[in-house]
């Protein structure tokens, strides 16, 4: 028997979003709670595709996070309940369809806190660099500042506490470690992470299209250039 692919028809194995819990967020938004990051990215992709295709109206923002997807509605165009109903009828795409790109970020590992990170981890500099540059980090979501990625996948050997006293100014492009997090400061700001290097790669430029280098679901690889 020949199976004809119908892009609008859910594959039987895909659970409908209606199986996921949805909660109102005020009177103009709702949040869908999910079990894991892979499902966050599948749901984010499904909602974004449906909005682009015009199948879900009046959505102004879709915000993925670690375990949830927030959907913000324009109340002038339709009620939030109608949008929640439409979203919860969507089929989830399979994991492969929701996968992002892999982006390489060259890093000069010359940060002022490298000696402290070595002391705290008991690792030599070369090993800190090798372990930091090894993973293909998953971009869980963006937040905190425009273009700032929350990355998953830091080697547990590199989990170090934040600085006791945050710096009043960390330059844009600084690469740091803090707790189980690593990342790049998208703009000059105060900050408490241990700085291990810097990159010239611009994470966010409002005049670029798209403005953010990374999107939720992408992979990021730091490449040592020193």
């Amino acid at each position: 028997m020949t199976r004809v692919a119908d892009p609008d028809r859910p594959v039987a194995a895909d659970p409908p979003v209606s199986a996921l819990p949805a909660r109102p967020v005020g009177d103009t938004a709702f949040v869908v709670d999910v079990r894991d990051l892979a499902t966050v990215h599948r749901l984010h992709a499904a909602v974004r595709a449906a909005v682009t295709a015009g199948r879900v109206p009046a959505v102004v923002d879709v915000v993925p996070a670690y375990r949830s997807v927030l959907v913000v509605v324009d109340p002038a165009r339709t009620g939030v309940e109608a949008v929640a109903d439409a979203v919860r009828r969507l089929p989830l795409p399979d994991t492969a369809a929701a996968q992002g790109r892999t982006v390489e970020v060259p890093v000069v590992y010359d940060g002022p806190d490298l000696p402290e990170v070595c002391a705290r981890t008991g690792l030599p500099v070369d090993e800190v660099i090798a372990r930091h540059a090894a993973p293909a980090y998953l971009v869980a979501f963006l937040g905190f500042a425009p273009g700032f990625p929350y990355l998953v996948g830091l080697d547990p050997a590199l989990h170090v506490p934040r600085r006791a006293t945050p710096r009043t100014r960390v330059p844009a492009g600084a690469v740091g470690l803090g707790g189980d997090q690593t990342g790049v400061y998208p703009r000059d700001s105060p900050g408490g992470w241990q700085l291990i290097g810097h990159t010239d790669t611009v994470l966010f430029d409002p005049l670029r299209s798209p403005p953010a280098l990374l999107a939720p679901g992408d992979r990021l690889r730091f490449v040592a250039v020193r």
Binding site: R23, P24, V25, A29, L70, G143, P146, G147
Partner: protein, 305 residues
């Protein structure tokens, strides 16, 4: 903000000269939407109702960019003249030293100076100029995002503000009612999405308290002083999630922060309730020392888990 738009643009467009910037004067419209998944806050006017009203008075589209004045207004010279309207917080307005009215369109002749004085009630006044403030849009909005660093930034003396030609109707000649700001405004709150992170009495404490707006408040949010909202069970950490203006986020000290227009896109503390959109403009007019109450409002739909 000097130099953020090309000088040629200012030469071909009518422009307003900033003689004195006021305490904190920002270009704001309805904000950026559609970029929150990249960490870009909405920003925009803290009181969108007054912004829309000021724009309608001068015949602009409701969402045109205007000036958001906080506590003390600017002095602006109009080399080509124009029409202006100031709506929102109660202020004294003068043109070339002669008192003029707020909440109504006011003509400004060529070369005259508009002075927006000290705010006497409320916090933010919106000064719309017929044609709209035409700084270049960034990601679809001319708003200054005070957190994300987008848009033209705080006004400085000597800045030139280009004026656009985006009018949709005639100047409206009648005055409109001013801001009605009760001593203790009551804002409607939809419980959740994380009210189940709090002990049973917490929602009752939220709605039973006259909260005081503290000095540590800004366009991002109102930090409220009052009794602590108790958490349920042992301390646990919420996985960061999407935030909206209106969210009452509760840090570990139990004192809620009511997010306003420049809310961050994500946050790591549980939200006990969210103020409905229609009541947020009033929240944007509350200054330190003002009291505010909350009342429960039915959710737009029943949660499914």
């Amino acid at each position: 903000m000097t130099g953020v738009f090309p000088v040629e643009a200012a030469e071909v467009m009518p422009a307003i000269e900033v003689v004195a910037p006021g305490l904190l004067t920002l270009v704001e419209d309805l904000g950026r939407q559609g970029w929150a998944h990249l960490g870009v806050p909405r920003a925009g006017a803290a009181d969108v109702r007054s912004l829309r009203l000021a724009n309608r008075l001068v015949g602009n589209p409701e969402g045109a960019a205007a000036l958001e004045v906080t506590l003390h207004g600017p002095r602006l010279r109009f080399p080509q003249g124009g029409w202006v309207a100031a709506c929102g917080a109660q202020v004294d307005v003068a043109v070339d030293g002669r008192p003029a009215s707020a909440q109504v369109a006011v003509p400004v002749r060529a070369g005259a100076v508009l002075e927006v004085g000290r705010v006497r009630a409320g916090l933010r006044c919106y000064v719309a100029v017929r044609g709209g403030i035409a700084v270049p849009p960034v990601l679809g909005s001319r708003s200054t995002d005070t957190v994300g660093g987008l848009g033209p930034g705080v006004l400085h003396a000597g800045d030139l503000l280009p004026v656009g030609d985006q009018v949709v109707g005639p100047v409206w000649q009648e005055p409109v009612p001013g801001l009605a700001l009760p001593a203790e405004p009551v804002l409607r709150v939809v419980p959740g999405p994380r009210d189940d992170w709090f002990a049973a009495p917490a929602l009752g404490v939220l709605t039973g308290t006259a909260w005081e707006v503290t000095a540590a408040s800004d366009r991002t949010g109102l930090r409220l002083a009052g009794p602590a909202l108790p958490r349920a069970g042992p301390h646990r950490e919420l996985a960061s999630e999407g935030m909206v203006p209106g969210a009452l986020q509760v840090p570990p000290d139990g004192r809620p922060i009511l997010f306003l227009a420049n809310a961050p896109t994500t946050g790591g503390y549980p939200v006990i309730g969210v103020v409905v959109a229609a009541d947020l403009p009033l929240a944007g007019q509350l200054s330190p020392g003002h009291r505010v109450r909350f009342t429960r409002c039915p959710p737009p739909f029943e949660r499914s888990g």
